[in-house]
């Protein structure tokens, strides 16, 4: 497959912003730095990138926060999902791996920003696992599934879909 035929899709939780990548993702990594932690409300940011001319917003518009002079972060203004990160001088843009429709296909290969790595980060794989929401509270899980307002993990012709 030639690079121009690649199409990798993703978007925010509510579906107001959808994007397509027309190149294979490179340098999948997580960044522990405090800037990425706070932007993602999390322990790290999971990012992978493409040349910026291979990135296309296919629905809506990215809201952007200039988190420092040389960087900007794109998100959905309707639901908040962190979507992109870029150095404004660089010919490249990274997307949040969790916003991809198929994040399982983009395992990270490196850890960046190690100075911000939280002390207990290495112990997370040893945590006990709770039962699933479906097993634990089946009635609530069924109601959530029946009224899920999250955009599906594929492109849609129109969104939101007609009221159920």
């Amino acid at each position: 497959m030639s690079e121009t035929e690649v199409r990798i899709t993703g978007g925010c939780q509510c579906g107001a912003v959808r994007y397509a990548l027309h190149a294979a993702l490179s340098n999948p990594h997580i960044c522990h730095c405090r800037m990425c932690q706070k932007a993602f409300g999390s322990f790290f940011a999971p990012l992978a990138g493409v040349p910026i001319d291979r990135f296309e917003v296919t629905r809506g518009t990215l809201a952007v926060f200039r988190s420092s002079d040389p960087t900007e972060r794109g998100f959905c203004r309707d639901c908040g999902t962190p979507l992109t990160f870029r150095h404004v001088e660089a010919p490249r843009i990274s997307v949040s791996i969790g916003s991809l429709d198929e994040p399982e296909k983009v395992p990270p290969t490196h850890q960046y920003g190690i100075e911000g790595r939280l002390a207990w980060f290495g112990t997370l794989p040893t945590l006990p696992g709770e039962t699933s929401t479906e097993e634990d509270v089946p009635e609530a899980a069924a109601r959530i599934a029946a009224t899920n307002h999250q955009h599906p993990d594929h492109d849609t012709e129109a969104w939101p879909e007609a009221r159920r």
Partner: protein, 159 residues
Amino acid sequence: MTGTAFTGGCQCGAVRFRAERLGRASVCHCRMCQKAFGAFYAPLVSAFGLTWTRGEPAHFASSNLVRRGFCAACGTPLTYERDDVTEIAIGALDDPTRAAPVIEVNPADKLPFVDGIPLLPMQPPEEAPAAADFKARVVNHQHPDHDTQAWPPAAGFGS
């Protein structure tokens, strides 16, 4: 008692909160949480005595039972709210080390590579000079990890 409350907020500082007490800290692997956070899982801790001390979050009703709060100005995911509990994003705390997760929720949805992440190699050393140069030049617009009287700083960034 002052000094022991849990403060935090979004990246840009438009929304700040304070909680008197935190409950159970967890990571949730479900696909709803993955997509809301643009990440591999949601790190959440239940918060009690929660007040918004600057601004307020915007909300997205991700289902009929749950709404999620975020900063409309910078996007930081901030809350997961059900009628019986509000959880806050651990990374939004000024000191996330005070909320070490103790349990994984919905582990059946865990992405296959997640447990291997802590063992991944660090940034390749050949990239270090460029990274150091970047850090030397960066002028940070992120709100500091403590409450502030006014924000953004009156003197502007980079002063």
